[in-house]
Symmetry: C2
Subunit: 141 residues, 2 copies
DNA sequence: CCAAGAATGTAATGATATAACGTTTATTGT
DNA sequence: ACAATAAACGTTATATCATTACATTCTTGG
């Protein structure tokens, strides 16, 4: 099996692979400096923030990683590349995020924009709240 | 007329008034350091970033100002305080933003979250693209 | 007035992100 | 294969965004 099973962009470089693997292995979004601090990343020889940001930029271009604006953090896109808008559910208790696809909503949102004469390129939705586990734990207490 | 016509929260302090006035006078979102650099702000005696951030925090609490996450910038809420979600249309050419209300969309978005067992507190939507003026200018060239 | 809480001032620092420049590695055309 | 080009990378410094810590002043209710 190729090292880019769901992916038809250019093959990933060593640095890009290392950063993508780091995000895949994390259970929540990581900042660039979080990534930089990981042993596996240091082992791969990456030691400057710019190295991480460059890899992240490419991964984002290819749709393999998303940036969570309100956290200044990055998360692996579990659904593989896709072209419709995505939303993120961010748990304020545990910090984990869930990605939701917004096929239908996107049309609606972009429509609200078009009413204003605005030509939309990109839609980002971030919602904070409690994930099922944390909501349950809070209810139990 | 009182100095808080559409507003029933606590009266604004001098610093808060100065920062709010700065944002009202700007034609696009300002960063905290943009605000700090304004002559009117220096005249008001504010000279440290923290002073600006503290005022912004209070204004945001009261719904008079919104933070645009993807710009790390702040904008006056032209609609007065409100409790439904808002979206921002951010022009990538001129940097101006338009605020749109998402009464109907919010339900939809929160519904997508609820499907996942997620209890949503807060919804933020940011869309990038071209404003009517910049789209027209681009088409003309 | 006086105590309590909120807001502010000041300095230092922490956290996030990019610029500038040179070198190395990969790709492409011939 | 080889040179030309482009992409990625390394290194250092720096720019940009935000908070901690602690002392002081202002406001407000008793």
């Amino acid at each position: 099996m190729a090292d880019h099973a769901h992916h038809d962009g250019p093959p990933l470089t060593r640095n890009q692979q290392a950063v993508l693997a780091a995000l895949k292995g994390a259970d929540k979004p990581l900042t660039a400096y979080d990534v930089l601090g990981l042993p596996a990343i240091r082992k791969a020889g990456m030691k400057a923030p710019l190295t991480i940001y460059r890899a992240l930029d490419k991964l984002i271009d290819q749709g393999l990683v998303h940036r969570i604006e309100s956290l200044n953090a990055f998360v692996h896109c579990g659904h593989g590349p896709h072209d419709h808008a995505t939303g993120f559910l961010i748990c304020t208790d545990c910090g984990r995020t869930l990605e939701v696809h917004l096929e239908s909503c996107e049309t609606h949102l972009a429509g609200r924009a078009r009413e204003q004469g605005f030509a939309v390129d990109n839609v980002r939705v971030e919602m904070t709240g409690r994930c099922p586990e944390c909501a349950a734990r809070a209810a139990a207490s």
